[in-house]
């Protein structure tokens, strides 16, 4: 189930985009054409935008959906450059709300847990605000400090 916040954010984005907001020298607006209608997902999402020459989603989205961009930028994904395309797909296979399979390459244990009875019907975003994606609280690990420099059996495997 999508959280109300997600929905609100997506709607905001959709409104902004449908208002045709475009900035700088990034992709220019154009009127919807037959070509756009034939194109794939993102082109359907953004019929008003000529994506020719666009390279990165965030070139526009840092402005048109600045709140979402900011949430992502300040998140673990943001600092580690897990870019928009990683979860949402690119211009040719864009999706608004990524299914959990999309998270499994790095978060398999978490996506697997969705199959437990408790998690039935839930997705990652039932609990985690998308874009912020605050991780599960963890038991703080003690600082490793400086261990002895005598590793005779520690192994390097």
């Amino acid at each position: 189930m999508m959280s109300s916040r997600t929905l609100a954010v997506c709607l905001t984005a959709a409104l902004l985009l449908s208002a045709g907001i475009s900035t700088g020298a990034q992709p220019k607006r154009k009127s919807p054409t037959k070509k756009a209608a034939e194109a794939k997902v993102v082109r359907d999402t953004h019929p008003e935008i000529d994506l020719t020459g666009a390279t990165e989603c965030r070139d526009c989205h840092r402005i048109v959906t600045s709140e979402i961009h900011e949430q992502w930028f300040e998140s673990k994904h943001g600092i580690n450059n897990v870019l928009c395309v990683t979860c949402h797909g690119g211009f040719d296979n864009f999706v608004k709300s990524p299914p959990p399979t999309r998270c499994a390459a790095c978060h398999a244990a978490q996506t697997d847990s969705l199959s437990t009875p408790f998690m039935k019907g839930k997705t990652c975003f039932t609990c985690h605000e998308p874009h912020q994606l605050i991780p599960h609280p963890q038991v703080p690990k003690p600082d490793p400090g400086v261990p002895e420099n005598t590793n005779t059996k520690g192994g390097a495997q």
Binding site: M1, M2, G24, A25, Q26, V41, G53, A54, T55, E56, I79, N80, N81, V82, L83, V85, T86, G89, G90, F91, D92, N93, F94, V95, K96, S97, P98, P99, P100, T101, R102, A104, A105, C106, H107, A108, A109, T111, D112, L114, S115, M119, K120, G121, T123, K141, D143, P144, G145, V146, P147, N149, T150, N151, T152, K153, G154, G155, A156, Q157
Partner: protein, 753 residues
């Protein structure tokens, strides 16, 4: 190791529950990664030298998913490229059949027809012009076993040392830096040092984009330990600088002055480990360790922060801060660098100067204190550097020029004395110049793309295009900017379609098991090479049936060398998540920190001091006196802007693989990244077309005006774009020691196009 560890039926049930929600229903088709893999095979990421462990998920003989290996150093994480790997396997431009050039066009041929032609051309060249008229050009992308077969076939079969590869373009200066300072190649530290470091000194590396999983580990460390400092030295403002506590930009090529000045500050502020200096160090200039500590001190005394700041265009106080953080007593300092130091005509010196800082402060060989070179290709270390597959090398630290080493290898390879030529072959740039000159008549290029990746690339593309020579390209994809120039293109198996070993930046060797059958008629590279060997009459030299046969032949070659991994059997590799050499016996767990007493099995436990740099006969490391010299080509009135090239996170090397990924292809366009001040001066806005021209070539790119914090006067163009190649501009001048070209610095002019 194949497992059926995930019964994802339940996940699939959850997925269909989601699909029932109208918002999700159209979504699943849009994803390349199906949740329903029925088999998982342990492997390693195909891309950079970080070497992240992963499992390949297959269904119905196709790769459908990957998942990070949580038991490996990457703790289950993959960067966005790695997470999207499945899409490369069945890309439309996978080459499925051999191709032969007929009447100027590459047309489909049978394997036998293609190999007969290759063998006849090689035989003809060798028969008429001798063994040195043929050459091999490989890469750090090939598996260890594949590179080994090529190296052995050419050096012990054909009898030429004309064996080179992409590592010459990538990390030759890092290798020569380690060898000159410590006597032997490869880092002494490991990724785990990140978890103990208090100070990170990142120079000439955009770690955040080029090595994202190592960067993530640095971020984790910074979050876990308050007060952790990150120093970044880079003329560009990159995502790496986001976590920097100090980012120093400087005129490209002047970091030698900054590094010498940091040594000056460490000495003048007495941030030294005098006992370590006394116990472990000797001093040298040029190629001889014939100087004293006093000489070194006198040398760096010339590099006051004020003088270095004047040379490099940074602030003197920033140099002092960097040195103070680096040298603070009781703190662990880890340096990391990559192409920014290596792809330089003074690359070996730059490497030596970083090592100097660690040596005089004793910040080495301790958890969190180490000079650590990052690696660009997944198996440059394991396959080429360690395996000795460059023109001056023989396997595992041996040298062509050393008569004893040649004799030793001839004995191990069971070939007659005198088989291995005493003449080292030309390094990469000279090798392609020999192709240009007509001295090399036939070249076999395997698993890399010099038609895009060489500097001053148009010059060498012409050499490959010559009709009077013969170029074979073994590649998984076609066309590439190299295969389009070839006389024969052989379809090679890709990554999960074959089995072999990769050795990443931290001496970790890992087995990639095969998960699927090769596409079409593609074959693993080792099989193609063995076939060629048989056709050339060297079947006895490369008589291998499986990659395991090759591995079993490699293990004893390392006995008695500093690499000794005789205990790293195929079975142990299969059941482990990588092992770090040395591994001298089958009970040995592997070595975390080399040269360190108590860690390294090659250092006696009763050694008097805490480290033994056994790569050198005196057991000591060399602190080198290295002057400041500028880049080969500096800006002038005709070419007033600096050009630097590099990588972005979405793509890898020449993008033959990553441009096939739907999520990544949109970022492929190389743009000319220009400082706002320069853009204003030139009247250029983002999206405008500009022509960049160097003394070697010219190209049109769209401009992208970047962060104010970048360096004015500097233009960046990434190297990945096959249509807009930054390398038409770059300079092919090389480091005199490592022979690595200066991709990172040349001068250009900018015009509106």
């Amino acid at each position: 190791m194949t497992i059926t560890r995930r019964q994802l039926l339940e996940s699939a049930a959850a997925a269909s529950a989601l699909a029932a929600l109208s918002d999700f229903s159209p979504l699943f088709d849009a994803f390349a990664q199906s949740p329903a893999a029925d088999k998982w095979t342990k492997s390693v990421c195909r891309y950079c030298g970080t070497g992240c462990g992963l499992y390949v998920g297959t269904k119905g003989g196709k790769v459908v998913a990957v998942q990070g290996d949580k038991d490996n150093h990457n703790a289950g994480f993959l960067c966005l490229k790695g997470a999207l790997l499945p899409q490369i396997m069945n890309a439309p431009d996978r080459l499925q059949h051999p191709l032969i050039r007929k009447n100027g066009k590459l047309v489909q041929a049978s394997w036998d027809e293609a190999m007969t032609l290759v063998a006849s051309k090689f035989k003809e060249a060798i028969g008429t012009h001798g063994p040195d008229s043929v050459a091999f050009y490989g890469s750090g992308q090939g598996l260890t076993e594949e590179t080994y077969v090529a190296n052995k076939l050419f050096k012990a079969g054909i009898g030429t040392n004309n064996v080179e590869g992409n590592p010459r373009l990538c990390m030759a200066s890092a290798a020569a830096g380690y060898i000159t300072t410590f006597g032997k190649d490869e880092p002494m530290g490991l990724y785990e040092d990140v978890d103990y470091a208090d100070v990170f000194f990142i120079i000439g590396s955009n770690t955040a984009e080029a090595h994202p999983i190592i960067f993530q580990r640095v971020v984790r460390r910074k979050e876990a330990k308050k007060g952790t400092k990150v120093i970044v030295l880079d003329p560009r403002r990159t995502p790496t600088s986001r976590i920097a506590d100090l980012h120093i930009t400087f005129t490209p090529g002047t970091d030698l002055a900054i590094l010498n000045s940091m040594a000056h500050v460490l000495i003048s502020e007495k941030m030294l480990d005098e006992q370590f200096i006394k116990d472990h160090l000797v001093f040298g200039e040029g190629a001889e360790a014939n100087k004293a500590w006093e000489d070194f001190k006198a040398h760096v005394a010339n590099f006051t922060p004020e003088k270095a700041a004047l040379i490099s265009g940074c602030r003197a106080e920033d140099i002092v801060t960097a040195a103070r953080w680096f040298g603070e007593a009781g703190k662990n300092t880890m340096s990391m660098w990559c192409m920014g130091l290596n792809q330089r005509t003074k690359g070996v010196w730059a490497n030596n100067l970083v090592h100097n800082l660690h040596l005089i402060t004793g910040k080495i060989g301790l958890p969190g204190s180490t000079p650590f070179s990052l690696t660009g290709q997944p198996n440059a270390c394991g396959g080429v550097r360690d395996g000795g597959a460059l023109s001056h090398q023989l396997p595992y630290g041996r040298l062509v020029a050393n008569e004893k080493h040649r004799a030793e290898m001839e004995k191990l390879w069971n070939v007659p004395a005198g088989t291995i030529s005493a003449r080292p072959g030309p390094a990469t740039i000279d090798m392609f110049r020999a192709l240009e000159d007509g001295k090399i008549k036939a070249m076999y290029i395997m698993c890399t793309n010099p038609g895009q990746s060489l500097p001053n690339v148009d010059r060498y593309r012409k050499a490959m295009l010559r009709t009077d020579n013969f170029v074979v390209v073994a590649e998984a994809f076609h066309p590439t900017r190299t295969s389009e120039l070839a006389d024969v293109v052989l379809p090679a198996a890709l990554w999960a379609e074959k089995e072999g070993v990769y050795g990443c930046a931290e001496r970790r060797y890992q087995l990639l098991d095969q998960s699927v059958q090769p596409i079409g008629e593609a074959r693993p590279d080792f099989e193609i090479l063995c076939d060629l060997g048989r056709r050339l009459g060297h079947g006895g030299v490369v008589n291998f049936k499986t990659p395991t046969d090759i591995w079993n032949e490699i293990l004893p070659l390392t006995k008695g060398t500093v690499y000794d991994f005789t205990g790293m059997t195929r079975e142990r590799l299969r059941s482990s998540h990588g092992m770090l050499w040395p591994v001298p016996n089958e009970k040995h767990p592997g070595t975390k920190r080399r040269y360190a007493r108590g860690d390294d099995p090659l250092v006696p436990l009763d050694h008097q001091t805490r480290m033994k740099f056994y790569g050198r006969p005196d057991g000591k490391a060399v602190v080198w006196i290295r002057p400041y010299k500028p880049a080969e080509e500096i800006v002038d009135t005709e070419y007033p802007y600096w050009l630097t090239t590099g990588r972005i996170i979405e793509h890898w090397h020449t993008s033959t693989m990553t441009k096939n990924v739907k999520e990544l292809v949109q970022a492929i366009e190389a743009m000319a990244e220009i400082h706002p001040r320069d853009a204003e001066k030139l009247g250029i806005s983002t999206g405008d077309k500009v022509r960049l021209t160097s003394r070697r070539g010219s190209g049109v790119f769209r401009a992208k005006v970047v962060d104010e914090k970048s360096r004015p006067g500097l233009v960046f163009v990434h190297m990945h774009d096959h249509n807009r190649m930054s390398n038409v501009l770059t300079i092919d001048a090389v480091d005199p020691v490592s022979k690595q070209p200066e991709f990172k610095i040349c001068s250009i002019r900018i015009e509106k196009a």
